[in-house]
Symmetry: C2
Subunit: 261 residues, 2 copies
């Protein structure tokens, strides 16, 4: 796909960019998806392109809540599927929960292309060795992950038009939604419906980051990888979750990175 | 083109986004151009989407140097042409200097599409009233602006492949280059050739921002508008230019914006 050297200090970021350009050329993404990715790139750069200590705490909290929830759902849009589809399929396999393709700019064509991408990713993940520390029939667990999103039979109350459409069995019915890279309006609507909304967002000032139940300020693939591990090891001390504090920590890191010159 | 209300607090930013999406659909931009715009959006957001005091000083300095230069050139890429083409044509008309289309990912097709866009913009600008404070035949001045970029007869020494191609009469010959949204490698190569490199870049930490002779940390269209005014009013006190100080100011603004929560 590319000739970027693995030794390049920004290898992961450059590969992510290439993946999105390819996906965009193949019609998997809305046009503004690339702009959204650029915004994320800028924030990740300011965060030093690594998972901070407070993001790690948020990851632990998200893993705990996903484990505890009776019917969690993982909602993915185009950028999420391209950047972290495989990671999220592993999480869904371990949690035995479905994944729902849910798009801000919904078109049936893109839903169906993303469904195809996730199915290919499922086939690939099913052939891997199971994650470290997990016990069971990996191939079977991965193949059991349901991919929702085409059915159109649910509604996110509080939104209008195609943005409100969701799957009844997925987002509508679930109490706990892991929804990376979500739009502010939709995050707010999900919170207003009393759902536990777990987000991954690189911008600690975004409406999504500020409204969510738990916000992981981190790059989606890096975070998903760590969530998987935490879900498996289940090493958790119960304490009150202070989401504002995780946002303040991220802001402080960015603020400090401004002293580079 | 759009139904975004003029009263929307982020109207200009949303219109800019739409313009780029349209231009991308029409093949005027490289795919990564949208990602680059997103990065810019993030920094502009952190800067409060307004021209800071220190950016205004940099704008004065750039206007002074453009006025003083014997043969300045304005180098534009796809994003710049789409976002600020008309503003830069006005500047070129007042300075009586050419504009060169110069692309990082050069293809003859995009050069020719951007040339067409700039020609359309020229026709539009020529029909406007002349800028306030300027005296002369506006229609004639605008129509005299030469658009370079197709000729391929120059070289930016220090770069390889298509990225090195430029116009002899434009970038190669000029001592002073106004080059908004430039790539770090190319900025460095131009500086190494002894040119005075005047940039507009929203990321105060970028290599371009740090290597340039004068860096305006501001959105390209906002900045170009103000440069035009400063070129006309010529209100300038000569003093030593400290480019690091303008970058530090921008970093401080961003750092302060991190305390919003």
């Amino acid at each position: 796909m590319s000739n970027i050297s693995k030794n390049h200090p920004r290898y992961r970021s450059l590969i992510a960019r290439e993946k999105l350009v390819d996906a965009s050329n193949n019609g998997l993404l809305a046009h503004s998806a690339m702009i959204a990715h650029g915004r994320g790139e800028a924030f990740d750069y300011l965060l030093g392109e690594e998972t901070s200590k407070s993001a790690k705490l948020a990851i632990k909290e998200v893993a705990y809540r996903l484990n505890k929830s009776k019917n969690p759902i993982i909602s993915v849009n185009g950028n999420t599927a391209v950047l972290a589809g495989e990671d999220l399929i592993r999480i869904a396999a371990v949690l035995e929960c479905p994944i729902e393709i849910n798009l801000y700019y919904r078109t049936e064509e893109r839903i169906s292309k993303l469904l195809q991408l996730l199915n290919e990713q499922k086939d690939k993940v099913a052939k891997e060795a199971c994650p470290e520390g997990w016990i069971g029939d990996w191939d079977k667990s991965v193949n059991s992950v349901r991919l929702l999103g085409q059915e159109n039979d649910g509604l996110i109350i509080g939104l209008e038009g195609p943005r409100a459409i969701c799957s009844f069995e997925g987002i509508q019915r679930s109490k706990t939604v892991l929804v990376p890279l979500e739009d502010g309006d939709r995050c707010e609507a999900l919170v207003a419906l009393g759902k536990e909304v777990l987000v991954i967002d690189l911008n600690p000032l975004s409406r999504t980051a500020r409204k969510a139940s738990v916000t992981i300020v981190d790059e989606v693939s890096r975070a998903a990888n760590l969530i998987l591990n935490e879900i498996i090891i289940k090493d958790y001390e119960i304490k009150e979750w202070d989401n504002e504090s995780t946002l303040r920590d991220a802001l402080e890191i960015i603020s400090k990175s401004m002293n580079k010159i």
